[in-house]
């Protein structure tokens, strides 16, 4: 397999708290890895370590066979695109300008043309169904629309690796489905996608592999069918869970159960 990211025994400690404890993980081209687990399991910390935002306190991460710390910010931006929950929502720029900023890493390369940028922006808007918002000011959009526009910016960046922290946050069911389908399409084109998801059924249906995290460790890794099991999920979430066969999709269906 064509490996994009490889994490070896990665730990991240802040003071006495161990947020990540010797995590091993790989992400290959053509793979959609869903990271699931309860709040505080270390999912976002893991993503930020893989993105190069946080330096692991132990272990190492390689991106495209190179240690992560060897990259400059601008080289990194050509290798991976990142979506993290929005902290700034009052962005004064128009939607299309925001999405066009996703092209910034490419604009320093001689091979990049204005047509490339325009095409990438138009396509990203279309794939997130935000074309009709193009001239709206980002700050005036709803949370769900802001999420979709930010995803469009990530798509416009057109990197081989996508690291997405709750990319369906604040989306309605229809838009969540569209985003998951779009991720599936990207994976089909050889992109590597790692997404933190809270919707276990989105993970069940779309992920090629599911990583279950708990207390800073990886508790289980495998196909949705292997990993999404009653006992494991009940234990990890501390909530009775039932997994049945999906009535019409070829994947498990995860249900919240009563005691």
């Amino acid at each position: 397999m064509d490996e994009r990211i490889e994490a070896n025994a990665v730990g991240y400690r802040v003071g006495k708290a161990t947020l990540l404890d010797s995590v091993d993980l790989s992400l290959s081209a053509g793979e959609l890895v869903a990271v699931v687990g309860p709040n505080g399991a270390g999912k976002s910390t893991l993503l930020r370590v893989l993105a190069g935002d946080l330096r692991p306190t132990s272990g190492r991460v390689t991106l495209a066979d190179q240690p992560l710390e060897r990259y400059d910010y601008d080289d990194l931006a050509l290798q991976r695109a990142v979506f993290v929950p929005l902290t700034v929502r009052d962005i004064p720029f128009a939607v299309e300008a925001v999405v066009a900023m996703g092209r910034f890493p490419h604009q320093r390369r001689a091979a990049n043309s204005i047509e490339d940028d325009e095409q990438a922006v138009a396509s990203a808007l279309e794939r997130t169904t935000t074309s009709h918002l193009a001239s709206r000011v980002f700050a005036t959009l709803s949370s769900g629309e802001q999420t979709r526009v930010s995803l469009a910016r990530v798509f416009a960046q057109d990197a081989p690796v996508l690291l997405l922290d709750e990319p369906t946050n604040a989306l309605d069911v229809a838009h969540e489905e569209r985003v998951m389908l779009e991720l599936q399409t990207l994976v089909g084109r050889g992109r590597a996608v790692l997404a933190i998801l809270h919707d276990l059924n989105a993970a069940a249906n779309y992920a090629t592999r599911v990583v279950v995290m708990m207390d800073g460790k990886i508790r289980a890794v495998g196909t949705p069918g292997e990993v999404l099991r009653d006992d494991l999920l009940t234990d990890v979430y501390g909530q009775p869970m039932r997994v049945v066969d999906h009535p019409f999709r070829d994947c498990p269906l995860v249900l919240v159960a009563d005691d």
Partner: protein, 346 residues
Amino acid sequence: MTQSVSATARPFDPFAARRRGVSVVLGLLLVGAVALNLGMGAVLIPPEEVLGVVAGKAGLALGVEPSTQAEAVVWSIRLPRALMGVVTGAALALTGVVLQGVFRNPMADPQLLGIGPGASLGGVIGSVAGATQGAIAGGAVAGLLTALVVRRLGARRANQPSRFILTGVALSAALSAWVGFVVFGADRAKVPPIEFWLLGSLAGSTWRALGTATVLAGLGALGLWAGARTLDLMALGESEARHLGVDVEFATTVLLMGVGIVTGAAVGAVGVVGFVGLLVPHVVRKLTGPAHRPLMVGGMLAGGLFVVLTDLAARTVFVPIEIPVGLITAVVGGPFFLWLIRGARY
């Protein structure tokens, strides 16, 4: 795709169409304001005589023979003074644009962050050593140093705007007090009085001072101009900018250094002229939109215009007495600013 993207208006920007118009109008107003400054004052000089002086200096004969007095007033006093207004107004407005972008905070300006008072202190000390030239150089050096101190004290991480502001407020108060100490302790004949440093004045503008201030402010401004696109990306948030390849820490340092030099050159030359850095970007943003390149161009033109016009008022309202230009900028700027931000969601 419902929206067509034209090659000229890219990335999409609803303000693109009127941007050129805004620049042209502001530019014409600026030229007009400078011309007004050449004719008006304690001595009224008729337009044809002003034109005669300027044309004569440019080697053109217009058939108007200006008096020696008119020539002295227009060429040696009013023109360098008006141009100094253009340069310092442009400089201060530019620093406001940059600081408000760096901190994503509409309150930010060199004064609030302590860079203005730091430059004042450098200017006072410089003027003891080397009169006006010393003040400008000292202002630029001290502005740069203060900016580095603000950067260092303000935050380990760039994205802590409130910490920066609190640091600035404390620095501002302390440094302003030191300006007072040095002014009162120094030789009165050498150092401009305290009201110059607190309220600003363009009265001492000479061609030489104009040259020094322009070169120093221009150098800093070039650096800031180069950071315009980076500032656009920083509007997305610190993490997002970094994910797109911006070294946010480094960019913040460089931009603050540029602001320090530009502010310092302006403050060293004319003292602290308040409200320009705060007010002008807010006005221009409504005309040019949020993208920093057009905002910088519009801001510099509008800043120059604002200072040139307020200086005209400073010279003419109580003829023959001149009042500090900062009084006018505050009297006009305060209420105007309140009107401007009515209903804004800050």
